[in-house]
Amino acid sequence: MKGKLLIFASALAFVFASCDKVPQAEIDAAFAAVDSSKAVQADLYLPAEFGAVKDSLNSAMAKVEAQKAKWFKKFEEPKNQLIAVKAAADQLITNTAARKEALKAEITATLAEVKTLVEENKALVAKAPKGKEGKAAIEAINNEMGVIEASVTEAEGMFNGGELLATIDKVKAAKEKATAIKTELEEVIAKKAGKK
């Protein structure tokens, strides 16, 4: 009789033991990967992708909690989702590094372009007509060039400080301004040449 009760108890224990275990290792790994991606500023450089990974992690964790609330727990789905989250977060780390490198290259190239434009503009200023309008324009252009050069210096400081996104906006604006000045000077010089 005792033996049979033991069999029954074992059967019941099996029923409960058959419940899945919380995928703690996958949870820890997914959280660690997301934290690492944030540490490399994926949230700044790839915000949409980082948001998607974070949403997926939240969804997986909600599913884990939902399963915990059940008699018969099945963690397979959230477990797979957590594995996917970890893989995506790892990929995000690689992609963030690539994005930063691409930004650095773009900034370096644009800064060089701006510096070249400033030098070209200085050479054009010397050729610009010096009538009343030309005189006024030259004074204003020299001042604007001063602002561009100051913004280049500021951008270089930001670049060295690792503020790549703010730097790229600044150097793009500087390039746009320097290009506009160049066009203005070229037009004025061409107009003068046409008058001769």
């Binding site: 019941l12 609330a69 610009a128 009343k132 204003a140 906006d169 746009e176 301004k177």
Partner: protein, 377 residues
């Protein structure tokens, strides 16, 4: 006997199994289901809110959505630690419903805010661009304190940055930069407008002086020289008629009357040529020395000194000439009027331009409205 015992055991086992099943079934029925649908809906709503940039446009509502979701998850973890039958997910559901509610509100608020930010940006860009179009050439022309001109150009630079951000759909960044830009630009424009308007307060006096000089020229069949500072030109009138116009360069701080020596301002008033200087007699090719300071300059200087408007040690200055060396493209003199050397030759070759010739220097020969209209074209 053995068989009987066996059947009894089977019976007991069956009854126990049945009872366990019933108890188990009752427990399952009594167990509350976790709010899975609400959880999924809350997540979906928050994700949508994030995509709608509710975190930027409606941060209060969005933060409430997120904090309610976090509270729901916390409550759920606490409930899950309890014995399964005594779990109660009502609190979890309430937090999730609040989260969904706030997330949806934040989406609507974000859409409204994004439309209004967009409208604000478009309107403000137009307003700032219109003012720049109207005043840019004026600002380029007049001598402004370095800081004002720098701030104006910084403002224009920030405006470019703002437009770049607008192009990248970073509306809030764009708005922040535009606000800073418009403050810098409008301050510089307002300052310039005020400076010019105040300056043109003397226009009736300038007009009278010029008319008197032209009449003098007509009456005496002689030449007079009129220097228009705003127009940056020197005109020679003979017998009341304009005979020659030359581009002129002035003192660096040419707006306003000369206050004292070294202020780099070109004086305003009615003067006479006192000397005609040939090369080697002057630093800048040829020159017509004028009688600055005249009696009116001396009176004004003394009054300014008495009122403490200029330092006690200041001198009135002298040696104001119309000289060569012009064509440098900037207003560079210390207060003199500079012409191109070839124009000085023409001026020297003109009949009646000699010692005693009247020289009238005024802020402008045209009214402010005309000047502004011209500068804004």
């Amino acid at each position: 006997m053995r068989k009987k015992t066996f059947y009894r055991a089977i019976f007991i086992f069956s009854v126990l199994t049945l009872l366990t099943g019933v108890v188990f079934g009752v427990l399952i029925l009594l167990t509350e289901n976790p709010p899975e649908k609400e959880l999924a809906l809350a997540q979906k709503s928050i994700s949508e809110a994030k995509r709608a940039k509710a975190g930027e446009y409606a941060p209060d509502l969005f933060n409430r959505a997120e904090s309610n979701y976090a509270a729901a998850m916390r409550k759920m973890r606490i409930e899950n630690l309890k014995w399964i039958v005594s779990r109660d997910y009502d609190g979890v559901k309430a937090s999730l419903e609040s989260s969904i509610n706030y997330a949806q509100k934040s989406i609507a608020a974000s859409k409204n805010a994004s439309v209004s930010v967009n409208e604000y940006l478009e309107k403000t860009y137009k307003r700032v661009d219109d003012r720049i179009d109207a005043f840019d050439s004026l600002i380029k022309l007049i001598p402004l304190p370095k800081s004002v001109r720098e701030n104006y150009n910084k403002g224009k630079f920030l405006l470019s940055e703002s437009k770049l951000a607008f192009g990248q759909k970073s509306m809030l960044d764009s708005k922040e930069k535009l606000q800073k830009a418009s403050v810098l630009i409008f301050r510089a424009i307002d300052y310039s407008e005020m400076l010019v308007k105040n300056y043109f307060g003397a226009y009736p006096l300038w007009q009278r002086r010029v008319q008197e000089a032209i009449q003098y020229s007509r009456r005496n069949n002689t030449s007079v020289i009129v220097v228009d500072k705003f127009g940056q030109q020197l005109t020679v009138y003979r017998n009341g008629e304009s005979k020659a116009v030359f581009q002129a360069e002035l003192g660096q701080n040419w707006i306003g009357e000369k206050q004292y020596g070294g202020d780099k301002a070109t004086p305003e008033g009615t003067y006479k040529v006192t000397q005609k200087l040939m090369p080697r007699q002057t630093t800048y090719y040829k020159a017509l020395m004028i009688n600055y300071p005249n009696d009116e300059d001396k009176r004004r200087f003394a009054e300014a000194k008495r009122k403490g408007l200029i330092s006690k040690g200041a001198s009135i200055g002298s040696m104001i000439e119309i000289h060569g060396g012009g064509g440098q493209g900037v207003n560079w003199t210390n207060g003199c009027v500079a012409l191109h050397n070839s124009d000085m030759d023409k001026l020297f070759g003109m009949i009646d331009v000699e010692v005693g010739t009247l020289v009238v220097i005024v802020g402008s020969t045209k009214p402010l409205e005309e000047v502004l209209q011209k500068e804004s074209i």
